[in-house]
């Protein structure tokens, strides 16, 4: 357990269960007893494919709600929010980085970074440029994403995730499509901004080296798959 830092928001996830209805029946995608990340803390989430890492991140990102359980970020129980409230929460509090850069192809670098700022209704021109300069992207500000390399695009994605000063940054295998050098650079960047901003960082990764950059690593074991009430099996956080 790390000490809370200003600027971040603590994350608490308790008794999370996510089930999906499929043609073959109900499938359990995630079963989690408890996860706690202090405000400003950094946690790497590891685990085998299919254990529910991305599902967990989706819940933390307020993009989905669990079948049961509670997700609390800061003082707010996001798992109990309506779709509109979660949207509003994401706008104000969250920054996200994914394996795919997900940059909007018709916006330039600076516009991609400025977009969350505009959506959140905060920040100023200087903030965007400051963020880009800090990440070494100032000279690429007016380029379109298709004019950038994969590493540059992912760095822009990081800049976009922090441009509006979120209290929580969520990263889902942000280095998955990069070579080792670029991967290291992006992780270093993420950790730097997480520390500089004091934002809470949760990063899903397969790579123990990358996980090692963060203060704590949690392992997620696969759920039991198709569940019955009698066969419920808890996942464990190590």
């Amino acid at each position: 357990m790390t000490t809370d830092r200003p600027g971040g928001a603590a994350i608490e996830a308790t008794d999370l269960v996510v089930d999906y209805e499929t043609a073959a029946g109900r499938v359990r995608a995630l079963e989690l007893d408890h996860l706690s990340v202090p405000s400003g803390g950094g946690v790497a989430v590891m685990g085998p494919s299919g254990c529910g890492k991305s599902t967990l991140l989706g819940l933390l990102a307020a993009l989905a709600v669990p079948s049961s359980g509670l997700v609390r970020i800061g003082a707010e129980a996001v798992s109990d929010m309506s779709d509109r409230q979660r949207c509003d929460f994401r706008r104000r509090n969250l920054g996200m980085v994914y394996q795919a850069d997900n940059l909007l192809p018709h916006l330039t670098v600076e516009e991609n970074v400025a977009l969350p700022v505009a959506i959140a209704g905060v920040g100023a021109t200087s903030d965007t440029m400051e963020t880009l300069d800090r990440l070494g992207l100032g000279t690429l500000a007016q380029r379109l994403p298709d004019e950038l390399s994969g590493g540059q695009r992912q760095r822009v994605a990081v800049a976009r995730a922090i441009g509006h000063r979120p209290s929580v940054v969520l990263a889902d295998e942000p280095t998955g499509s990069l070579d080792a050098a670029n991967a290291r650079g992006v992780v270093r960047l993420l950790v730097e901004v997480h520390r500089a901003l004091g934002a809470t960082l949760v990063m899903v990764t397969h790579d123990p080296d990358i996980a090692g950059h963060l203060e704590r690593t949690v392992y997620l074991r696969p759920a039991a798959g198709r569940l019955t009430d009698a066969s419920r099996e808890a996942s464990h956080v190590g």
């Binding site: 989706g58 990102a61 779709d83 994401r90 795919a100 997900n102 400025a114 959506i119 021109t125």
Partner: protein, 1033 residues
């Protein structure tokens, strides 16, 4: 394996599959629908073309008065004779008539293998003097032997011998003919004895395909030939005597027996004769015959023959359409005509040197079994020609057959070809749209499948496998779409035309249309889908992605729009210079179909495609210019995103705009064309009728209608009515140079101006109001047609002597002066040569009553009410004939006049509007497919669903509104070209009109489609799984 994968892919992506499928089905449906429509329409062209014909065929007996000689040839021995053997030829000529034949000449030509035996020719047993050479074929001209006059009952026997130069069959030893002053055309020997008209009619009636064949005889008699012996009063004016039986009368509704009946004995007189002589049923009348004799008959009936086309249509070639009514007519029995009237003509002919100014006509009027005629005019024409040949074979070779039905079908056949070409051209844009819509769907589909293809490549799928999958997917989609489209097309054609009309089309033509439509649609839409998909496969993903944002589509880069417009401009200039837009109007009686230069239809299609592309290019430029420069601050996110999205990738919008513009353009152009077509046809019919209504007093009209009685027809809904005097050759015009019978029109200038659709362009050197004003002010004024003025070599200002109501007891000559010239007048399809004021006419001939009255409805909406009030008022109380613009249009024999253009346009428009909906749907779902990651990214960043819905809606609205605006602009231009190219379909120059409702309907539909598609589309965004989509590479 591949097939399973492709099928699973199609089933798992129902929206994608369905949107493509619907696009293909609509395109193929439209194409097939047009083809089926043409089949159904062609199938009714025969019936429509022949419907107005009063007589299908007229077999006119050519046997002349005084020409009933009979020549018999015998040859002895018969069989085959050897070289040097001789054969005797005997010719017997008998005059079986009771009148003499003059200048009778016999000609006999030996066949090539036989030679005349010098000195062998004998006449009535005596050797013919100087017969060393053949006297029956003398000199270089091979002229025959002139026997001089043969008295009634006289006979001659002529003999000569021939010698064989080689072995020969003597069956055709000689070809012998005779001629006379009365019978100029040589008649061959051994011709069958003349048969009676009734016998010929019976033989013709027995032919296959003939419904009835009825004998009709008639002849013109002198002035005042019919008289009531009791009172001594005769009917003034020319007279005609007819002979036909009750069966003939029963077949023709226009022969109206008003009282009494047509019997085997007695005579039926026209109502005019009855009125003039005072004779009634049961009274005796005398008919003066051409030889000075007369017959007395008991009146068995009184008839109104004033509309009997079959009796009074001109029999002169080149003038067949003219209705030459003879008021004083009498109908006698065929027996009386054959036994008494015809011999009187023969005697008159003999007394006059064998010639009659107006010989009697004996004919068999034939009605065919029309229901047996093929629906297609070309096939029906072959049927009627076969029947015509059989009719000719029945009677003498010199008889004449007026094959009216074949003439009509010849025109209908040509009209059918024009109609098919016209309709295919009007339908071609539909086929093009099908391909374009498929290509558009293909582009959208290819973009959506880009990631899937990349995944498959990563998993080891090669280019060949991807192409095979594409081919399979395309085949399944287009084959299914074609089958659905085929059914849709048939259904649409059946609804538009009616199942009966479509059912008349032959199974073969429907099968051909189905094959052409389905295979054509399959190939066109399949190629479009396959080629766009293949292009996508051949590109690397990253390259494709980069091109998406920066590279405009091919049509934008190739300047096809500018090239197309240049071609249209040059084509238009050339067409104007060569007067190619003028074409040629059709005429059934001249056997001439409408001539359209269908190559010119390339122009509207050219302007349609190029202007749509140019509009999209212009819009693209505009959007690019409106795109903001890169900035580190965005302002309001929705507006910022929208401006950048449409400004930096305008070609996604442009592609959609092109398709919407093409569809709306087609709809607007066809609707504008139909509106102009309907309006022009209505104007044509109104012009031909003279006004909205024409009321004609008939011979059995009870009341007397004078010049001042026009007010009787001002019933509710009728704004004005006016009297008209008109008659064929009713005057003689005499200038200083020459004179000629002419058709004079006398009108009340003010009333005629108010009622008839007179046009300024039809008057030379002045407006219609000025010309008619002068007539009204100056009682000695007369106007001439330009043609008549040229014939008379007269000009405005010249004096003209006019013999009014010529050929009647009231005829009077007046001196008038020419005040102006005109080209044509409304209401006189048989022609008007001169125009004067009716008051001036009445002053000169007070007894002359108007021939008809013209009446105009208050406005177009009041026509129905006006017709009702006329029928319920004046027509209910008296026997008057009412013609309206509608009945005039219905009696137009041109099959093109009755083309169901509106039906085709409804069909085209329905499909086109459905395509608009599909296009908008494809655009919106295309956005969802290609940009779903963008939308979930925005959602992840906290942009509200409402904002995303607005973003999608705004882009779709840009496409819809810009496409609709461009389409309207393009459609108005395209419709103008359609009307200009199809100008020869109209008599009057059509006024191009674009009703506002025409513009509103597609616009409204596009807006509704956009709203619905945007709403459905954006609600689908909410159902996307952001967690999955965001982490996918």
């Amino acid at each position: 394996m591949l097939a399973r994968f492709v099928l699973a892919d199609l089933l798992r992506n129902p929206r994608r599959t369905l949107s493509t499928l619907v696009g293909v089905a609509l395109g193929v449906g439209l194409f097939c629908g047009v083809l089926f429509f043409v089949d159904g329409l062609s199938a009714s062209m025969t019936q429509r073309a022949v419907a107005p014909l009063p007589i299908d065929m007229q077999h006119v007996v050519a046997e002349r008065i005084g020409g009933s000689l009979l020549l018999t040839q015998t040859v002895d021995p018969d069989g085959v004779i050897g070289v040097g053997r001789q054969v005797g030829v005997t010719l017997e000529l008998a005059n079986g008539d009771d009148v003499a034949a003059n200048e009778v000449t016999i000609r006999s030509l030996p066949s090539g293998s036989l030679s005349y035996v010098p000195g062998s020719a004998r006449l009535d047993g005596a050797q013919i003097a100087g017969a060393e050479s053949n006297p029956f074929a003398q000199g270089p001209g091979l002229s025959g032997l002139n026997l001089g006059t043969m008295l009634a009952g006289e006979a001659h026997r002529l003999e000569y011998r021939l010698e064989a130069r080689r072995q020969v069959a003597v069956d055709d030893a000689a070809r012998s003919t005779f001629s006379s002053r009365e019978q100029v055309t040589p008649i061959p020997a051994n011709r069958p004895a003349p048969t009676s008209l009734e016998e010929v009619a019976d033989r013709i009636a027995a032919l296959d395909g003939v419904a009835s064949a009825r004998a009709l005889s008639f002849g013109d008699l002198g002035v005042g030939a019919i008289a009531d012996p009791a009172s001594g009063t005769s009917a003034p004016g020319p007279t005609r005597v007819f002979a036909f039986d009750a069966g003939y009368a029963a077949r023709d509704d226009d022969i109206r027996i008003e009282s009494g009946g047509l019997r085997n004995t007695g005579a039926v007189i026209s109502a005019e004769v009855a009125a003039a002589t005072g004779a009634g049923v049961g009274d005796a009348i005398t008919v003066a015959l051409p030889d000075g004799s007369s017959i007395t008959e008991r009146v068995s009936g009184i008839a109104d023959l004033s509309r009997a086309q079959a009796l009074f249509s001109s029999r002169r070639g080149g003038d067949l359409e003219t209705f030459v009514y003879v008021r004083n007519s009498v109908v006698v029995s065929p027996t009386v005509f054959a036994d008494t009237v015809l011999p009187a003509y023969e005697r008159a002919a003999a007394a006059g040197g064998g010639r009659l100014k107006s010989p009697p006509v004996r004919e068999v009027d034939i009605a065919l079994q029309r229901h047996l005629l093929d629906a297609d005019p070309a096939t029906a024409l072959r049927q009627t020609e076969r029947i015509g040949a059989a009719v000719r074979a029945v009677a003498a070779s010199d008889d004449n057959l007026l094959d009216n039905i074949s003439n009509t079908l010849t025109v209908a056949e040509a009209d059918a070809k024009v109609a098919k070409a016209l309709f295919v051209f009007l339908g071609v844009p539909g086929g093009l749209l099908a391909a374009m819509l498929s290509a558009y769907a293909g582009v959208v589909l290819a973009e959506a499948q880009r990631r899937e293809q990349a995944t498959l490549r990563i998993r080891g799928a090669g280019r060949r496998q991807l192409l095979a999958m594409l081919a399979l997917r395309t085949s399944v989609l287009t084959a299914t779409g074609s089958v659905v489209g085929l059914s849709l097309g048939y259904l649409a054609a059946a609804i538009t035309l009616g199942q009966d009309s479509l059912g008349r089309a032959s199974a073969a033509s429907l099968a051909v249309s189905a094959a052409v439509g389905a295979v054509g649609g399959f190939v066109a839409t399949g190629s479009a889908l396959y080629l766009t998909g293949r292009r996508s496969i051949d590109r690397e993903i990253n390259e494709d992605r980069a091109l998406l944002a920066t590279r405009p589509p091919l049509w934008r880069r190739a300047w096809l729009d500018v090239l197309g417009l240049a071609v249209v401009a040059v084509g238009t200039a050339l067409a104007l210079r060569l007067r190619a837009f003028d074409g040629e109007a059709g005429s059934v009686y001249f056997g001439r179909a409408v001539r359209l230069n269908l190559r010119l239809l390339v122009l509207p299609i050219g302007i349609w495609v190029s202007a749509s592309l140019l509009s999209a290019r212009g819009l693209g430029r505009m959007l690019e210019r409106g795109s903001p420069r890169s900035a580190p601050q965005l302002g309001r996110p929705l507006g910022a995103l929208l401006r950048r999205s449409v400004g930096r990738r305008p070609w996604a919008i442009g592609n959609g705009v092109v398709i919407v513009s093409l569809i709306v353009g087609l709809t607007v152009s066809l609707a504008a064309f139909t509106a102009s077509y309907d309006r022009a046809k209505s104007a044509d019919a109104r012009f031909a009728n003279g006004a909205d209504f024409r009321i004609t007093p008939g011979p059995s009209t009870q009341l007397s209608y004078g010049v001042g009685d026009a007010h009787r027809f001002r019933t509710p809904g009728v704004a004005a009515s006016t009297p008209v005097i008109w008659g064929r050759d009713n005057v003689v015009l005499r200038s200083r140079r020459t004179s000629d019978p002419a058709n004079l029109v006398a009108v009340d200038p003010t009333g005629f101006l108010a009622v008839a659709p007179v046009r300024d362009e039809h008057f030379v050197n002045g407006t219609a109001a000025e010309a008619l004003g002068t007539l009204g002010d100056d009682p000695s004024a007369i106007m001439l047609s330009s043609e008549m003025a040229e014939f008379l070599r007269a000009k405005p200002g010249d004096s003209l002597d006019v013999l009014l109501v010529r050929g009647t007891d009231e005829q009077a000559e007046v001196r008038l002066h020419i005040t102006g010239l005109f080209e044509r007048l409304p209401g006189f399809p048989d022609g008007a040569d001169a125009l004067m004021a009716i008051d001036a006419h009445s002053e000169a001939v007070p007894s002359k009553r108007p021939d008809f009255f013209l009446a105009a409805a208050a406005d177009a909406g009041a026509r129905a009410e006006a017709e009702r009030s006329l029928r319920g008022g004046p027509l209910a109380t008296d026997r008057l004939a009412l013609d309206s613009a509608t009945t005039t249009l219905a009696s137009d024999q041109s099959s093109l006049a009755a083309l169901n253009v509106a039906g085709l346009v409804s069909l085209d428009s329905s499909f086109a509007l459905a395509m608009v909906v599909v296009t908008i749907g494809i655009f919106v779902f295309g956005l969802l497919l290609t940009r779903r990651r963008e939308y979930v990214t925005l959602r992840a960043q906290g942009l509200e669903a409402r904002s995303i819905r607005l973003l999608i809606g705004a882009e779709a609205a840009t496409v819809a509104l810009a496409g609709t605006a461009c389409g309207m602009f393009v459609g108005v231009g395209m419709g103008f070209y359609f009307v200009t190219v199809l100008r020869p379909l109209f008599v009057l120059t059509p006024v191009y009109s674009v009703p506002v409702a025409v513009l509103a309907a597609p616009a409204l539909l596009v807006v509704v489609a956009t709203l619905v598609a945007s709403f459905v589309g954006s609600s689908l965004v909410n159902r996307l799984n952001p967690t999955e989509l965001l982490r996918d590479e």
